[in-house]
């Protein structure tokens, strides 16, 4: 009957109860939606980092990451053999990499030249899809090169324009060759677009003297949540003398960004819950103050303070629980809809997002684990917020309450 009294008490002042219901609904919706946006951004950044930039794992000569000199390469064949036998590899690409200078009639820039196998590279990070103007690299043609949009714009290099790459070969001697711009690409990571140019691996190997070798092997694993660290250990065992790193080690900034998103998430949710809490305290306090006389009578006729306290808490929890389904329904509907269409921030913060390696269209994602967390947090907030009004109710002296 306590449950029944609590439930009926809720509807004595419909407007007030509806106000809490709306607060809970909006609080839950806002909390869930903000979490979904942040998770969407995190997932976007992670997907970008793994699928478009660093892959799950990379293999290098141990000294290559420090010096990036052409001489720090490894034989292709041995690595290829090991990677071909790996069961959960989705794709891999072997690259020759050289740091050098790109110049044309307008000026020059320090760049990183990636010599790639166009087919393998496309399988590993869908590079062809990023070509906005011209065409992707093919086996035909002499010395084709792909430039990033930002670099091409800065040096005013047109499609089919000619550029000269100057690099140091494995002997440390300067070597240079002319390349013709076959395509201009643009990814969501503007800083990388400005820094990396792509040529065919064979062309770069010929220039650096690294034929039959590679500086980098990028490995994309199958599916989500692959045990990357386990594959890393396996590769380390099978490729002694080479350095095998996971995406977290290669791109610690991505791992940092994702963990920071969790923190921002908590802060936002904290603010929303605080607002919810004030709403509940205010409404429940009004509800208790309106019923002082009645609460006094309940205690006069034998209802213990513990039960009165429980009744006020129960009223709050019931009201919160009543608001939860509508909040969740609204959240699911919004996230499902916006998750499909995406939120295009291109016009508001497109360049800024690209500078930080994010796609401009954010697709909110709702991980189910977090949903349970929000539910628990909302209920906990509601219960904690009701403690003060409940305490106020039991601190009454029945005789004074009845006199009101």
């Amino acid at each position: 009957m306590l449950l029944s009294i609590a439930w009926r008490n809720l509807w004595r002042n419909r407007n007030r109860s509806l106000l809490i219901l709306v607060s809970v609904t909006v609080g839950l919706w806002a909390g869930t939606f903000i979490m979904a946006i942040y998770y969407g951004m995190g997932e976007n950044r992670l997907r970008m980092a793994i699928e478009k930039e660093v892959s799950h794992l990379q293999i290098h000569h141990p000294r290559f990451s420090e010096d990036q000199e052409a001489v720090y390469c490894f034989p292709e064949a041995g690595v290829r053999r090991v990677l071909d036998t790996l069961s959960n590899t989705a794709a891999y690409a072997l690259r020759t990499i050289g740091a050098g200078m790109l110049s044309n009639a307008t000026g020059s820039r320090g760049i990183l030249v990636a010599g790639i196998d166009p087919v393998a590279e496309d399988a590993t990070r869908s590079l062809s899809g990023t070509v906005e103007e011209g065409a992707y690299l093919t086996e035909s043609g002499r010395h084709p090169i792909l430039l990033g949009r930002k670099l091409a714009d800065k040096l005013r290099i047109p499609l089919k324009g000619k550029v000269v790459l100057t690099l140091l070969d494995t002997a440390g001697a300067m070597t240079a060759a002319a390349f013709r711009v076959q395509g201009i690409y643009e990814t969501a990571n503007a800083p990388l677009d400005e820094r990396i140019v792509y040529v065919r691996k064979g062309d770069l190997d010929a220039l650096l003297g690294t034929t039959g070798s590679a500086h980098e092997a990028a490995v994309l694993l199958q599916g989500e949540g692959e045990p990357v660290e386990r594959v890393q250990t396996l590769l380390e065992e099978r490729l002694p003398g080479l350095k095998v790193e996971t995406w977290k080690q290669i791109s610690p900034e991505t791992a940092l960004v994702i963990s920071s998103l969790d923190t921002y998430n908590l802060i936002f949710i904290g603010i929303i819950l605080l607002a919810l809490s004030f709403g509940i305290i205010n409404t429940m306090l009004m509800s208790v103050l309106d019923r002082m006389r009645e609460l006094g009578v309940l205690m006069a006729v034998g209802m213990s303070r513990r039960r009165v306290f429980g009744m006020v808490l129960l009223e709050t929890v019931l009201l919160t629980l009543a608001g939860v389904p509508s909040g969740l329904l609204l959240s699911f509907a919004t996230i499902a809809w916006v998750g499909r269409t995406g939120i295009d921030l291109g016009n508001i913060a497109g360049d800024t997002l690209r500078d930080f390696g994010y796609e401009t269209v954010i697709h909110p994602v709702m991980p189910t684990g977090s949903l349970a967390d929000i539910l628990v947090l909302v209920l906990l907030t509601a219960t904690l917020s009701a403690l003060y009004p409940a305490w106020k109710a039991i601190s009454l002296r029945p005789v004074e309450a009845i006199r009101r």
Binding site: M1, I5, R8, R12, L298, G302, S304, I402
Partner: protein
């Protein structure tokens, strides 16, 4: 009538605001109410009737003195102990009925038994008996707002009796009732007193109540000025 005391007050004094502007409400009140009495506490406004009733019911604390109800010194009980004691030993009827508005007549009565953890079947049976006793069996599922003042007060009497107390305290129970309702209510209470030997102590100004009481205790300025047992109304 039994000569066994259901309530004894020893030297009850009550001073409000003792540290600021002291107001003496009761002075050294000694009183004994025996089992089965139908007594009225009368006196002018401000004479201390309600204060004494509240102290007897454990709702208020005396400044000095003690109250023993059914053998228990309730002035020595903790606030939680007093609530528990009231639940099992004292029934209250208030001037303004004070029913729980969200509960029906049946639920208002049953609620007390629920607090006592009485099994459902027994609760339902007793609620039926009490509603019959106060003549409201047909209003069982009606909420207080839909009942007249007299009907609400009858539900309040049934609620006061739900816990099977030996002692019922009624503060101005007829003050908000018309003559017909008041007479009807008093008939019910007299019948319960006569047949079930429930002790009633009223605080009242109402001559209709005084006329029915078999004992009239008069308070003046917080002291017992007169205490008369009458021969009328013995049934």
């Amino acid at each position: 009538m039994d000569t066994q005391p259901v309530m004894q007050a020893f030297g009850i004094s009550k001073i409000y605001h003792p540290e600021t502007i002291p107001v003496r409400a009761l002075t050294d009140v000694d009183l004994r109410v025996n089992r089965g009495e139908f007594a009225a506490l009368v006196g002018p406004s401000g004479s201390g009737k309600t204060t004494l009733l509240n102290i007897i019911g454990g709702l208020d604390e005396p400044t000095s003195g003690s109250i023993v109800v059914s053998g228990t010194d309730i002035t020595s009980l903790s606030p939680a102990g007093k609530i528990d004691f009231r639940l099992y030993n004292i029934g209250f009827v208030f001037q303004s009925f004070n029913l729980i508005p969200v509960l029906t007549a049946r639920e208002n009565i049953e609620f007390i038994m629920l607090l006592q953890r009485i099994p459902r079947d027994e609760r339902r049976r007793r609620v039926g008996e009490l509603l019959d006793a106060v003549g409201l069996a047909d209003k069982a599922e009606v909420r207080p707002a839909k009942l007249s003042g007299g009907q609400q007060q009858r539900v309040a009497v049934a609620r006061a009796l739900a816990s099977k107390p030996q002692f019922v305290l009624a503060d101005e129970p007829t003050a908000n009732l018309d003559s017909h309702s008041a007479a009807n209510l008093l008939d019910i209470m007299e019948k319960l007193n006569r047949e079930e030997h429930i002790t009633f102590l009223f605080s009242t100004h109402d001559q209709r109540v005084i006329d029915r009481a078999r004992r009239v205790i008069t308070l003046v300025d917080g002291r017992v000025a007169d205490d008369r047992t009458l021969v009328k109304g013995a049934g």
